[in-house]
Amino acid sequence: MVKRFFERFYIGLILVFLYAPIIILIVLSFNSSKSRSKWGGFTLHWYKELFKNQSIMNALYTTLIIAFLSALIATIIGTAAAIAINSMKKTPRTIMIAITNIPMLNADIVTGISLMLLFVALRYTLGFTSVLISHITFNIPYVILSVMPKLKQLNPHTYEAALDLGASPVYAFFRVILPDIFPGVFTGFFLAFTMSLDDFVITHFTKGPSINTLSTKIYTEVRKGIKPEIYALSTLMFITVLLLLIIINRRSADKKEPVRRL
């Protein structure tokens, strides 16, 4: 009895620590006073202001576009790289994997500053594209990391069999290999998407004027106080992700049912 209580209490405590800040954020998004410590009354004002605020909306679009594009391109490059690395001999493969792991192990700030210095040295003007290139760069290792295990699990003979049966290498790749490694590719894509959404330091050093992602936009508001429109935006993002997760989990649960009945 007591043990049960402590188990529940412990889990409750963890959940409180995880979600208390988010709950407070959601509550404050309806607060008509800008201050974090004073409740001024319920209002939807900040939500309306959010959609009118051009700079925050632009930051949101930029964040989503960069996250999507960099994840997509990094997935393509990363998958190709993983396949190549997989068919290397042992020594070159170990070296390549070590090199690939460096951006992940490095502190973000090292990657950010070195990329900025590279762009300056090449006289490449910082702007949207420089941020995109930087995001692709730090995303590729994560994709490679996600795809490699799936490649290892692959039966090496199915590809040969497909070739024997008359498929061209490209056809064999798309029809035989890709479907098998697809979960890894998918995971890699989402991992890259999340890392890109989350990033602040690298974007901060490689962005050009008037390019802002949400993280850099929020950072610039620190001196004067973060605007409540950001609370509204965060609440909306949180609810969106929550709904998506619920839908996805429902779907997987439904998929499992038919197998059990049989």
Partner: protein, 348 residues
């Protein structure tokens, strides 16, 4: 699969083109503090002059400086603080604008031009944009008597109720002024005395804060805090028990001003932008948005709310200004010395 790739490729091309799209026409690259002007003024500027403002924001002078110095991005107009302007002048990073193209400078009050000479001798490089004082914000229901001295920050009877500012120059300015010295002091003995005072203060402090002081004071978490005058207006509105005072020993007056980097590619557009910012109506719009004091006397005349216009917080009388000094850039060695002493005072 192929269709998916084709569509993605198309998307990529479209977005890359959109990402580096160019509307052509005249541009001016402006680098300013976050939330430091009314964004509508940028639209108005485009309407009146046809010049598009490419706007970027920074959070600290120290973030801005390497970006300008490394020429990673070429800016046309930047808004640094007083000591940073001096550092940029000394490192030959600035262009002295042609003030014939900035006729609206006549609206900037003489007092602030004179204060600016502390860091920009002859007012050759900068045009004041916003200014303020450093002072004490206190909750009148939580203190025994009205405050008028920096001494209250070191007073044991307010132990645990003090919010000290977490900024090297500001902390030393307070200590030095309280001890009767110049806040731009480079005298080792004076600095050691200030450091000792700050070290004695350490156990009395509830927290070292910069921005959090606003919410903490509004929420009544502490009786006394250090704050800039611009924030004091906002906090007093939210909590009428809060009062702001510039202590009798004197304080710091800070000025943020517009400058033009030397490598700017659109110097005339930059001058037009600065001129536009000095227009009284535009300065008034910005003042209403950021609530930091404006040095623009034309804008001051246009303020409608009498309480704000005569507020001793936003527009203190001359005798208060006379005892406030602006920061000077003291050079890398001295700055490092200050930082070292600050860490020692906080026991780090």
């Amino acid at each position: 699969m192929k269709k998916l790739l084709a569509i993605s490729a198309l998307l990529i091309v479209m977005v890359l083109l959109a990402g580096c799209s160019d509307n052509g026409g005249e541009k001016v690259y402006v680098y300013n503090w976050g939330e430091y002007l009314d964004y509508e003024t940028l639209e108005l500027f485009k309407e009146r002059t046809g010049i598009t403002v490419v706007y970027e924001e920074f959070v600290q002078n120290e973030d801005m400086y390497p970006k300008v110095e490394s020429e990673a991005v070429i800016y046309d107009v930047v808004c640094p603080s007083d000591y940073m302007i001096q550092k940029m002048i000394e490192n030959d990073l600035l262009y002295a604008p042609n003030f014939d193209n900035i006729p609206n400078i006549k609206y900037i009050d003489e007092t602030y031009l004179k204060s600016s000479e502390e860091f920009d001798p002859g007012n050759k490089y900068s045009v004041p944009y916003c200014w303020g004082t450093l002072g004490i914000l206190y909750n009148k229901t939580m203190v025994d008597e009205p405050i008028d001295s920096w001494g209250v920050l070191f007073d044991e009877k307010y132990s645990g109720e003090i919010l000290m500012i977490d900024s090297v120059r500001d902390a030393f300015a307070i200590a030095l002024k309280y001890l009767g010295y110049d806040l731009n002091s480079t005298n080792e003995a004076e600095l050691e005395e200030a450091k000792a005072l700050l070290k004695k203060q350490y156990p009395l402090v509830q927290a070292y804060v910069v921005d959090e002081v606003r919410d903490k004071m509004i929420g009544g978490e502490a009786a006394i805090g250090v704050i800039y005058s611009g924030e004091a207006i906002y906090t007093s509105r939210e909590n009428p028990d809060l009062e702001y005072v510039v202590p009798k020993e004197g304080s710091n007056v800070w000025i943020d001003g517009w400058v033009i980097p030397k490598n700017s590619k659109n110097k005339e557009n930059a001058e037009a932008f600065i001129n536009f910012m000095c227009d009284p109506e535009i300065a008034l719009m910005n003042f209403n948005y950021i609530t930091y004091s404006t040095p623009n006397s034309g804008a001051w005349n246009l303020i409608e709310d009498e309480a704000v216009k005569n507020s001793p917080v936003a527009f203190p009388p001359q005798d208060i200004l006379d005892r406030c000094t602006a920061y000077r850039y003291l050079g890398e060695e001295v700055e490092a010395n200050y930082i070292q002493k600050w860490y020692e005072a906080k026991g780090e």
